[in-house]
Symmetry: C2
Subunit: 414 residues, 2 copies
Amino acid sequence: MLSLVDLLNRIRSGALTPDAALGLARAAIAEREGRIGAFAHLAEDRGEGAGEGVPGPLSGIAVGVKDIIDTADMPTAMGSPIYDGWRPRADAAIVSALRRAGATPIGKTTTTPFAFLDPTATRNPRNPEHTPGGSSAGSAAAVAAGMVPLALGTQTGGSVIRPASFCGVAAIKPSFRLIPTVGVKCFSWTLDTVGLFAATVPDVALALELLTGRPMRAAAPEPIRFGVVMQDFAGDPDRDGAAALEETVRALQAVGIEARPVALPASMAEAWAVHPVIQSFEARAALAWEYDHRRDDLPPLLRAELEAAQGVTAAEYDAARSVANRARRDAKSVFAEVDAIITYAAPGEAPHGLGSTGQARFNRLWTLLGTPCVNVPGLRGASGLPVGIQVVAPFARDHVALAAAARLERALSS
Amino acid sequence: MLSLVDLLNRIRSGALTPDAALGLARAAIAEREGRIGAFAHLAEDRGEGAGEGVPGPLSGIAVGVKDIIDTADMPTAMGSPIYDGWRPRADAAIVSALRRAGATPIGKTTTTPFAFLDPTATRNPRNPEHTPGGSSAGSAAAVAAGMVPLALGTQTGGSVIRPASFCGVAAIKPSFRLIPTVGVKCFSWTLDTVGLFAATVPDVALALELLTGRPMRAAAPEPIRFGVVMQDFAGDPDRDGAAALEETVRALQAVGIEARPVALPASMAEAWAVHPVIQSFEARAALAWEYDHRRDDLPPLLRAELEAAQGVTAAEYDAARSVANRARRDAKSVFAEVDAIITYAAPGEAPHGLGSTGQARFNRLWTLLGTPCVNVPGLRGASGLPVGIQVVAPFARDHVALAAAARLERALSS
């Protein structure tokens, strides 16, 4: 994989020019994209130094941009024929932030249609017979395949952390609205969260710091107190998922860190249960035009979701929002004794085939809570595919989530 | 003015067909629009019954849609040459809701560029030498001129309540996100709120009920306990504004309602003071593409605002957000003894000339708090122009705000 930190160090030392760093990404894309299918569109190569944006701390960094995120100079097709060739007038806020930092959006990465569950044709670089997950399929795959050092995704259920886990890359779903969603196709306005994919946790931390102007590599509590959460309400993990969490606890123990079990208050299970109500009700409004005018062009899972969503009442939604608000208040108590918790990033390895993008059941509570979540790569399941571990910290403590994840990443590799 | 309730009653009784109701709006537009300039674009008249949408409770209702709100079948120009002729692919969520309810978006109403402070050429129907206010200039003017019975606006500072006050129409800025902002050009994602304009408070209440699926004419506390808030931190009102609030207190007394003075906790003044920090920081991100790529096409006030916004730090923004969150929690205490409060909707009458859209200083606290606000028309200043009164209720108690406003409207007309 292309490490963001490594590339920037080499650029800073003069060992690599920004153009040459972009060239590494372009060469990798030329070599591997045909096999993976991570891109919906590739930017034209304007040639060395030709208009690759203002110089900045991310100069030389090629970025994959999920294709529900608006770009003024590339199409934004939402993974759907309804938006085939669609050209927004403006860049999304996060794309402007990338360009201001000197980064080069090098292409639009594949997304499931409107970031829901209908799969893409993208393949998992760790094993092309398996799904890369979704909905940010192309972004996870592009980083995993070493084609880009940074990619943007979005998560409404588990669309950042799950594909990161399946593809064996680091990723963060930051605190809700830390990265603006302006110019990102809306599915659910209380859930949609823009996230980042990169090779390692420090790569993700540096990118988030440069893009948000907040210190993401700032001092975290030392030692970091870890907790373990099982999320019983979300069902059982696969054998590989269960084994990965056990292995993580042992790896932390091996470096002197005792991860204590944390029991979640009942409101967390209730919040987990109402996530789909909130998502459906808001998707009904957010995708009303598509449903009313282009229903036949919607893929089957999304169409069925929106058909069912028409029956969700405002009263049900308002009640679900109350449950979510109560859980957000209670979330503080979850972190009363610990700084960060570890839990499953996904049930297990990436499912075989491209028929399903996997399940978001271990992700959706945290999306609803708005807490920062980091996928830590490093472990593998029985068939050799990656199995990630999810690190969660309190709302607005993204730097703690990243510090804890980096600590865990080191423990897993030691 | 065209009353929504009256039109729907006449349609229900058979005295008026939906097509004839639309015809009333079209005739009024043909007669008055040249003098007012409330529309940026008018929908083609497809002829009686030709594709005016599905039948529904708002069939026959012509709606003005502020031109920062996406429409698939009409341009959406944001009041700016940067978006001249721009055609979004999809309708905004609220436009879909209108169409599903049977309403006919009859045109795009003028907006200040990107809904900031640079004026439009729209004239106040009460006196064309005066501004209609902004940013939802065309929507307030179109309702006031009797051209449409319903119009959509947005408020980030005071862009719904202020023009409603200046033009002498009813309006609601509902609780934050009661109406989705999906498909509405973003200025500030924590402040932007979609609102409604109509002739009277019951007209607004019925529209909000039909568009949100929530009972907005439901039973409110009886009697409604009114409070009076002066907002000293926002400076003094004009003589007309002060007189209007005094007259309102007297009018309530005359019908046996004692409006008690309510002192706001200190956090309200602090929240009022940080509103511009939040707005600027978010506008910088939301309008980054326009600022980076089309700066010369930005109007002077917005350009200066965005230039200044580049200097607002993430730390300042985060601190401002904390202040706002504290004030939102404290807002409950404001309503401990009262159900609704009355306060200034604007400093006074609409300013003379079209050089300024007036001031939002009596509105921005409530926008930041996310509380429902209703403009109650009925009073006039020294020069005969309307002066509105703002009614505010606790978050998510929109039906209480509307009930209190309706009670006040009746008191003012009795």
